[in-house]
Symmetry: C2
Subunit: 478 residues, 2 copies
């Protein structure tokens, strides 16, 4: 812990959290800005995190019976308009293609902000009998939403995501799917991203345009703000009716099927930064870190050092994602570089270590240093990575618990926020949208989701005092 | 060979090749049309082929030192215009976004038809010193080109591809990269897609807009037409000059770097269909087949059959992509279905087989039937898949050799085409664009690429008779 701060040019979290965030995304080489406002280049190190997220999630989607497809990126305006709530929600924020080559388009095309209507059109073509159900589809693509204010990963005009779209014979099956995929997301965030999340249901005012119900996972960032990390929607048969999707059931009757959709985005990378990062830069959970261990030669010019480092790399790379940095930068520069990049384990190896048949390991998140016998390095790295993964989760969970408060009135909310700073506020709600708005107005926190938990704070609405229906988590949010 | 034709509703190749092709893409459930002209849904079975292509190529790209990134899908018109040949080539065929939300865009955005200018803008930001070179980048995305006539996989307004973009300190390095990646493509097509290709250089009139040289691989389809299966471009320092990308070299001088780009697309799926398919449907090379072996229970209701099939599946799925079809369709229906879908090996297992501790295997491409002892099934499937992969390549190569002709005059070309049908014509060329155009006009075949091969047909231009400079492969093309 006595090690001196190696990276000097990053703003501290305390000083300016927003600046700290953008310093990291730039200096850890996750993104670079472009001349297209609100769109970014995801650089190799950032994209490798996304590839790891994709690989793990895609496997889980396939294990739960889903298949990947690819829909067009364009939606004709006439198609978008078929489901009235959906178009109302999305039309104001889409990009319009009005010209193709030298042709002015009669039916202009929007660049997909989400693909429900394309899946619906397709389902209408291919779903005819109960034998055709369910269809459990997913796609990995980018979508466009014309946001006014943008921030890398958190809110951009184009972002990468996966969107699952499923169609089922019964409402029960579709609801089960909606909940199952929310569970997959929550488990993925906790196990792979080491990020604790709360599962809940969105209020009416906050649900997806066209959905009967929207479920979400919410995570708490370092600064006490909430981040919606994934959503799962149940559509009932509303889209099926709007798009005339019908199938013949076992009783030979034509009926409407039921649908769901669910998605997570590159926003998760922003969530990782703001959950685990510190004033020295990024801190990555081993499960998605592009480099899990970096080997840094000490006194590289000395005989035998580089050879031994290469041996070590060969030994480790069968099991881990390992990098040996044999560039001619100084060891100090390298320490700072891989701290900034959040590599979970650093291995230092110099002439003295070689003599003693050992190496030095440092774990990024707590800077614990250890001397490890070279004969034991594979096991040591394995257990360290597991410990880091757990350690990050425990640390984040502790932070969330510390910043979770129960409040009975809006005054209480205000005094908690003033005294302790932002966080998750658990408070009861009567279910009236007016109260929801009023809480936001009076305190600045909005409803994140309705949760089912032992009622902790009486039975009166935090706003109007009337009998409450729901326990709600409130917070300021990204 | 005596087995009767199981799929009755597909047009035969002889009768109508174009209809045969679209029958397959629809009936093998590779794609479905949408209401967006020229854009398609790639269905699970089609997308799984693409995922296999991606997996194999992505591994090869990474093994050759490339990293994945992701650029925006939009290009501001002002950025597109910076390299004059490039904009001239692409501007007429792009889709224009002119509106975002309620905002009319001052600098309209085109949906990327290719991303050279975005990579150049990025390189100008991040390349400053010789230490920053080379950058070996790739991205897997979709691009849009406003084609007038479209056909699934072969020519569509949106298509999936990968685009490699690299930047190097020297021209030699960039040329080496351009050639190396052409080699990777050729090797991939031959080894994984079982599709023989010719490597060559495009003539001036046919090169990529903005390139100094374009190299391509050309394959011959069943109907004797050529298909360009991949391209690799050398840019010299032309883009670097247009985008003001400079780096400080080891001698501390500011100089321009050199670039390349290279790509293959979902067109490869069309190439697979037209190289290996037959009148019973798709025939897939095992390396990219979503299902390598399908198990079909015979007399499924009989005791023990399904259990044994499941055992067999468990046995095989550790090593192969296997499907057991235990649906209640008839065995005959299933035979036809998986023939249509081009599954390389079919395994039939019924009560009599179980009694004799054996199963029946049929290989799709030659319909060879064999009785295989169950104890030997893993080895048998392994060697059959290898044999199919080789067999497909040999068959395709034989077809190409049979349809390759050497001609000394345009009259000879015409009589060969009339007598033997379409194919690759090898003929000499003086290098004059007028002759290139005239050959096309007189015979219908265009130059596909310049190859370096022992001169087979004298030293006079096939058109003007003057001294020739190049041996060219000519063909009608997709």
């Amino acid at each position: 812990m006595a090690e001196k701060k190696l990276v000097e040019d990053i703003t501290s979290m305390e000083e300016d959290f927003a600046k700290w965030y953008t310093d990291i995304v730039k200096k850890a080489e996750l993104i670079e800005y472009t001349s297209v406002k609100g769109c970014m280049v995801i650089r190799p190190y950032g994209y490798a995190i996304w590839e790891n997220i994709q690989r793990i999630l895609d496997k889980r989607f396939k294990e739960t019976g889903h298949e990947n497809v690819c829909m067009p990126m364009f939606i004709p305006e006439s198609l978008l308009q078929k489901e009235k709530d959906h178009v109302k929600g999305f039309a104001p924020e889409v990009a319009w293609v009005t010209r193709g080559g030298d042709e002015v388009l009669e039916d202009r095309l929007c660049v997909r902000p989400t693909s429900e209507v394309l899946f619906c059109e397709h389902y209408a073509n291919i779903v005819h009998s109960y034998r055709d159900l369910p269809k459990l589809y997913n796609q990995w693509v980018s979508v466009v939403r014309w946001e006014k204010t943008t921030r890398p990963f958190l809110r951009s005009r184009e972002f990468l995501w996966q969107e699952g779209h499923t169609i089922h014979a019964t409402a029960d099956e579709a609801i089960e799917e909606t909940e199952k995929m929310l569970g997959v997301y929550a488990d993925f965030c906790e196990k792979s991203l080491a990020m604790p999340v709360i599962k809940g249901k969105k209020t009416e005012s906050d649900k997806f345009a066209g959905a009967e119900a929207t479920y979400a996972i919410e995570a708490l960032m370092h600064d006490g703000k909430a981040l919606q990390a994934g959503t799962s929607h149940y559509f009932g048969d509303g889209f099926a009716r709007a798009f005339d999707i019908m199938y013949t059931n076992k009783e030979n009757k034509k009926v409407y099927p039921y649908q769901s959709s669910w998605g997570v985005t590159t926003r998760l990378i922003g969530a990782i930064i703001m959950t685990h990062g510190d004033d020295n830069g990024l801190v990555l959970p081993p499960a998605v870190a592009p480099i899990q261990a970096v080997i840094i030669p000490i006194a590289m010019h000395k005989e035998g050092v580089l050879e031994k480092c290469r041996e070590l790399k060969t030994l480790l790379e069968g099991e881990f994602r390992v990098k040996l940095d044999d560039s001619d930068n100084s060891a100090g520069w390298k320490f700072a570089e891989y701290e900034m990049k959040g590599v979970p384990v650093r291995i230092e190896l110099g002439p003295k270590d070689i003599e003693a048949d050992q190496c030095v390991t440092v774990t990024r998140h707590n800077r614990e240093k250890e001397l490890v016998p070279l004969s034991n390095i594979v096991e040591s790295v394995r257990s360290k990575l597991a410990a880091v993964q757990n350690g990050l989760f425990e640390k984040a969970l502790k932070n969330r618990e510390k910043r979770s408060y129960k409040c009975g009135t809006t005054d209480e909310i205000n005094s908690v926020l003033a005294e302790k700073g932002d966080g998750f506020i658990k408070a009861m709600w009567c279910g009236d949208e007016k109260c929801e708005d009023e809480v936001k107005e009076k305190t600045g926190v909005g409803s994140r989701c309705i949760i089912t938990e032992e009622n902790p704070v009486g039975n009166s609405c935090v706003c109007c005092g009337k009998p409450a229906k729901h326990l709600v988590v409130w917070a300021k949010a990204y």
